[in-house]
């Protein structure tokens, strides 16, 4: 089982819709959770970052982590055509000494917001 599983999509919604993107993870040792956005032919860029259970809001974006069910979500309110991109969930794992770390990514969900 891959450590991070992500709904593959693609997902197509009308402008103004609420979008829900979801991931599950299998290893409780992972502590930090992120959502990256990747536009076509570009590198990923950090969108949201959280390290605890609960919700974190940033404008139209809300990241939600449920550690008891190992579920992470990203909600986009009032979606815009400019939100059309691939969204990647990721989690970070530190080594035992905290001196090095690596990210494990989901496969990404392609979102298209239609005007």
């Amino acid at each position: 089982q891959k450590e991070v599983e992500q709904d593959p999509g693609p997902l197509s919604v009308p402008e103004g819709a609420i979008v829900s993107l979801n991931c599950t993870y299998s290893n409780s040792a992972f502590q930090y959770f992120m959502w990256y956005r990747q536009y076509s032919r570009k590198g990923p860029e950090l969108l949201m970052y959280t390290y605890s259970s609960g919700n974190k809001e940033d404008g139209r974006f809300t990241a939600q982590v449920d550690k008891s069910s190992k579920y992470i979500s990203l909600f986009i309110r009032d979606s815009q055509p400019s939100d059309s991109a691939t969204y990647l969930c990721a989690k970070a794992k530190l080594n035992s000494g905290g001196s090095n770390y690596k990210l494990t990514f989901g496969k990404g969900t392609l979102l298209t917001v239609n005007p």
């Binding site: 992500q6 502590q31 570009k42 970052y49």
Partner: protein, 116 residues
């Protein structure tokens, strides 16, 4: 502020040739990473480095070699390229290992490599 750059941006090579992809960052970040991105697999970690002369294998290291003699550079070498190594390669860097809540990995623009 140039940030993180990769070269070349596009490369076509033949099976069996050695290829080196360059990554350079101007922030003096300690941590650097190489990923490959393929349809159906997402981003997979090839190698990562915590500092100059400290490197570790990621998820898919076979067929690749890295070195890090200087903090700002992290070249990735395909010793004998194979068609399965056709992919988009991303380099990334971060200042610390998530010791601050604002830490993140910054990604380069990617190198599209085709092995014929």
């Amino acid at each position: 502020d140039a940030g993180i750059t990769q070269s070349p941006r596009y490369k076509i090579t033949e099976t069996g040739r050695q290829v080196t992809l360059m990554c350079h960052q101007t922030w003096s970040h300690s941590y650097m990473f190489w990923y490959r991105q393929d349809l159906g697999h997402g981003l997979r970690l090839i190698y990562y480095s915590a500092a100059a002369d400290i490197t570790d294998k990621g998820e898919v290291p076979d067929g690749y070699v890295v070195s890090r003699s200087k903090t700002e550079n992290f070249p990735l070498t395909l010793e004998s390229a194979t068609r399965s190594q056709t992919s988009v390669y991303f380099c990334a860097s971060s200042e610390t290992a998530f010791q601050r809540r604002t830490d993140t990995q910054y990604f380069g623009p990617g190198t599209r490599l085709t092995v014929l």
